[in-house]
């Protein structure tokens, strides 16, 4: 058997694949975070809560309405996105003219409140959510047993990430969004209804987080805490990637997922901090992040 | 460009010089092969069409940008690798194309902040603010010299655009720089201020070097002893205003056909 650093090649391949799966979640989440930040200048601390909400909405739909995974995959992001739109309209909107730190603090409070509410209502040990029948079971790849569902996560996250990227970088709508980020008043003077655009953006970001949440439900325990465990790592991913580019967020998400996966083989104790260590190194070498523009 | 021995004797000494300056942005070369000598006690104008690379040259000289190649010497010291704040402390100070004041500080404080460093009053975190009062006299002198005495206690943000630029010059002068780099000091200024500022610059240049970017050609004609014309990142012509403005290439590339 081929060995690399004392680890069988097969095991390594398996771990790479698993890293990629985790990277899918990082990518989806950091993408949404980057979009909201990029366009609204709001660090969406509630992103983890929205991810959690996605999973919970799927769970609730199943439990109380008998609506299964597939419809939930669309429905949950739409519901969370709508909730996001309402939040943006009612609250976030008032904070745009202020220092971005207020947006951060507001969404931080929101995350606390939402998480607290779900903990109050559903406890903290989580709820079960079964893998959809069509994706149950696994495939033997020779070097590892790959649950089919995990393969699906990688594929669908890639598709969604690329789709979002195309939407923002390559369409007129995206150009409006990017321009509005810089100078909303001027874009409005040009005849574009910017407030609606911003609402849509926040809804899109929240929806993406919820989508990741639904994807996560069959893998992780649906728990009120699932988001807060994730959010800080995703922040680090975003810092490493640099907020300048959407593509940067996506690529960094996958790459760091893989880096983390490999650490779990070579030095598992460090797997939680490896992303932070990478972040520190990147900051030393490229303060603006790997793909970020200089401020 | 070689400076002959006779010339160096006749002219004041070179305080800032650049050789073979070049800067690439991605595939685009914004500045290439620029040799520049700025002399003490003179006003040197850097002119050229928009996008010629004037601001970039400024950024390179003050080290806000790192040159891709070439070297820069300030008063005999090589500063090619020196960080911008060091360069400023060595006596090379710049203004910005977009006005740069401390908006929520008073006019007086704007100048005092600049005075703090040369007076070694910038790191004392244990002393009271009143320690700064001994800078007031000098600060007020500076304000008076640019005609801002009346606005002394206003918040800088409340000043009009032109007044802000004047304040910026006063702040810059507070550092008593050896070399002053001014990026379009008259842009957006009303005519009444243009006169004032021209006079200030001429005055300042009595005992230091000034390098300025300016589109207002009458100002250039009036106060600049030396003119360098930049085009597409390269030097197109050099000399005094009369020489340069007769240059056919300069007329086509920059000045246009009308009378100025």
């Amino acid at each position: 058997m081929t060995m690399i650093f004392g680890i069988p090649l097969q095991a390594l391949l398996g771990q790479l694949l698993i890293g990629l799966i985790n990277g899918s979640f990082y990518a989806l989440l950091s993408l949404g975070l980057a979009i909201i930040f990029g366009l609204l200048r709001v660090i969406n601390f509630a992103h983890g809560a929205q991810y959690m909400l996605g999973a919970f909405v799927a769970y609730l739909l199943l439990t109380y309405a008998g609506i299964g995974y597939w419809p939930s995959l669309i429905l949950a992001p739409v519901i969370v996105g709508l909730a996001g739109a309402v939040i943006e309209r009612l609250f976030l909107r008032r904070l745009y003219d202020l220092d971005p730190l207020y947006g951060l603090l507001f969404t931080f409070g929101m995350a606390l409140a939402v998480e607290g509410t779900f903990r109050f209502l559903y406890g903290s040990s989580g709820q079960p959510y079964a893998t959809p029948a069509a994706l149950a079971g696994g495939a033997n790849l020779g070097f590892m047993f790959l649950p089919i569902y995990r393969g699906w996560v990688v594929v669908v996250s890639l598709v969604v990430c690329l789709g979002t990227w195309l939407l923002i970088e390559k369409t007129k709508l995206g150009a409006y969004l990017r321009a509005a980020t810089e100078n909303a008043v001027l874009v409005q003077v040009f005849g574009v209804n910017v407030p609606v655009l911003l609402t849509l953006t926040y809804a899109l970001g929240a929806g993406l987080a919820a989508f990741a949440g639904v994807l996560a439900a069959p893998i992780y325990q649906v728990s009120p805490l699932m988001g807060s465990n994730m959010i800080i790592v995703v922040f680090a991913v975003v810092v490493v990637g640099g907020m300048g580019s959407i593509m940067g967020a996506i690529i960094t998400g996958y790459v760091l997922g893989i880096a983390e996966g490999l650490t779990k083989v070579f030095y598992p104790e460090a797997s939680n901090i490896v992303i932070f260590v990478i972040m520190a190194i990147v900051l030393l070498l490229r303060p603006a992040g790997l793909f970020g523009r200089d401020a | 460009m070689a400076v002959s021995a006779i010339e160096t004797q006749a002219k004041p000494r070179v305080v800032l010089s650049a050789r073979g300056l070049r800067r690439d942005f991605g595939g685009f070369t914004a500045v290439k092969n620029v040799d520049l000598d700025v002399h003490d006690a003179s006003v040197h104008a850097l002119i050229g069409p928009n996008g010629a690379g004037k601001t970039t040259v400024f950024n390179l000289l003050t080290k806000f940008l790192q040159p891709t190649s070439g070297s820069i010497t300030l008063m005999g010291t090589d500063i090619t690798g020196t960080p911008p704040d060091r360069v400023a402390r060595m006596g090379l100070v710049r203004s910005f194309q977009i006005s740069a004041v401390f908006p929520h500080l008073s006019v007086l404080d704007n100048v005092r902040v600049a005075l703090q460093r040369p007076n070694n009053l910038s790191t004392q975190f244990w002393r009271p603010l009143s320690a700064l009062d001994r800078l007031n006299e000098r600060a007020e002198q500076l304000l008076a010299s640019v005609g801002l005495s009346k606005e002394r206690d206003h918040v800088a943000a409340d000043l009009s655009y032109g007044r802000k630029r004047v304040l910026e010059i006063a702040t810059t002068l507070a550092l008593d720089p050896k070399v002053l780099l001014l990026d379009e000091p008259m842009a957006g200024m009303g005519l009444e201020d243009v006169g004032v500022v021209s006079a200030i610059i001429r005055d300042v240049a009595r005992d230091r070097a000034v390098l300025m970017v300016e589109h207002n050609l009458s100002v250039v004609a009036n106060i600049c002893q030396h003119v360098t014309v930049l085009q597409r990142g390269e030097i197109l012509a050099e000399g005094d205003y009369a020489t340069v403005s007769q240059d056919e290439r300069v007329r086509v590339a920059y000045m246009g056909t009308e009378e100025h």
Binding site: A11, G14, Q15, I18, G19, I21, N22, G116, R119, F120, G123, S124, S125, G126, Q127, P128, A130, T131, G138, M144, F145, P147, Y149, R150, P218, I219, Y220, Q221, S223, L225, M226, N229, M230, G261, K264, V265, P268, E269, S271, N272, I273 | -
Partner: protein, 380 residues
């Protein structure tokens, strides 16, 4: 006969909104109230009062409340005390103020070891009992080679260490271990390593959501179907409920109580269910037992004065639905039987909350550290 200050007051201090809220939480408060009602609501002729507070897993809040309770609100005993940092902090205060504390929620053996107190008691379980139960007993059932998935901090190490000791003592082997950081979402990398180790038992030396996620993902990767066994070292009925039988089936764990064990436990559980809408785990029942025993002790001592009550508590055997035949060591450890439990297949579960098969009963003497060897300086 009467209470010294005319009041008998018990404080339930635990996590009611954080990560351990399901573990004990508000339901523990209910259990304490049940105990008081079952006791008749009064002792020595004065009404018994239960107060409760949510320490939010913050020792300084817990410490603040505990001091205030003892100092100004005439609370006689504080119980439950989830999370070892809180339990240790409060036990130290109780010791200083010469007041009683009975821990049911925290796991660390230090409470009856180097941090023991003459007025401190540890009631429901501890890491040692869990290790012996799951480690020792499972080997006897044939699970003789182990691989550990260990949470990378003191709690995880001590669980792993103590379990390893018992696995080895019972003739088993440990083929490897992997340390995972606290609150890892994804365990698949670690599970793959466990899988390729070929060990018969994968021991989960972690807690809470980490354990749940590991179990769920083990099912996903077909680990249990592949013939390997999962053993959770700290896991209770409440968490199994959250996980669902589909994912949890086959899992082995140790608890100090199982509601569906006999008629008495079922009767207690029904009453508990009527109040809380869930079946009790060992923390809930343990709290019920602790309150009951405390009241009995007050009754017997004829006063709520600390020294006297503590003396009775140390001497009087326990005899209730939780700790039948239990005794209390000089270090404050309540020694009672533990149960090795296995989660049923969904098809075998006959009613809601019917989750476990009892694989073995571990006698208290085996489950708990001999007080003489506990490192507690109160034991001569």
């Amino acid at each position: 006969q009467s209470a010294a200050d005319g009041k008998v007051k018990i404080g339930i201090l635990n996590d009611q909104s954080g990560v351990y809220a399901d573990f004990g939480g508000k339901s523990s408060v209910e259990a304490a109230k049940m105990a008081v009602e079952d006791f008749g609501g009064k002792v020595l002729g004065v009404p018994v009062e239960i107060v409760d507070a949510d320490h939010q897993n913050k020792p300084d809040i817990a410490s603040n409340i505990a001091r205030q309770w003892y100092d100004t609100e005439q609370v006689d005993a504080i119980m439950e005390l989830t999370t070892s940092s809180v339990a240790l902090a409060v036990q130290a205060i109780a010791k200083e103020k010469k007041k009683i504390d009975i821990v049911t929620g925290a796991a660390t053996t230090d409470l009856t070891g180097k941090a023991c107190s003459p007025y401190g008691f540890h009631w429901a379980y501890d890491t040692h009992a869990l290790a012996v139960g799951t480690g020792g007993a499972l080997v006897k059932q044939g699970g003789d080679s182990w691989f550990f998935l260990t949470a990378d901090y003191a709690f995880g190490y001590s669980l792993e260490q103590q379990t390893t000791d018992y696995v080895k003592a019972s003739g088993g082997t440990v083929v490897g271990a992997v340390r995972h950081p606290l609150s890892s979402q994804d365990f698949s990398s670690f599970l793959l390593q466990a899988q390729s180790s070929g060990a018969k038992v994968i021991g989960l030396a972690n807690a809470g959501l980490d354990t749940s996620n590991a179990i769920k993902q083990a099912a996903e990767f077909g680990i249990t179907q592949g013939g390997q066994h999962l053993a959770a070292l700290l896991f209770t009925l409440a968490e199994v409920h959250g996980l669902g039988l589909e994912a949890a089936q086959g899992l082995t764990l140790t608890e100090g109580f199982y509601w569906n064990r006999d008629d008495e436990s079922r009767a207690f559980a029904k009453k508990f269910f009527a109040r809380t809408n869930k079946m009790p785990n060992m923390i809930h029942t343990g709290t019920y037992s602790a309150v009951t025993q405390y009241l009995k002790a007050v009754q017997k001592a004829g006063t709520d004065e600390t020294e006297a009550v503590a003396k009775v508590l140390h001497e009087m055997p326990v005899d209730d639905v939780f700790g039948r035949g239990g005794t209390v060591g000089a270090n404050g450890r309540m020694i009672h039987d533990m149960y090795l439990l296995q989660v049923k297949k969904p098809a075998d579960s006959k009613e809601p909350w019917d989750y476990f098969n009892v694989l073995a009963t571990i006698p208290g003497k085996e489950a708990y550290i001999d007080p003489a060897k506990s490192g507690c300086d109160l034991v001569k």
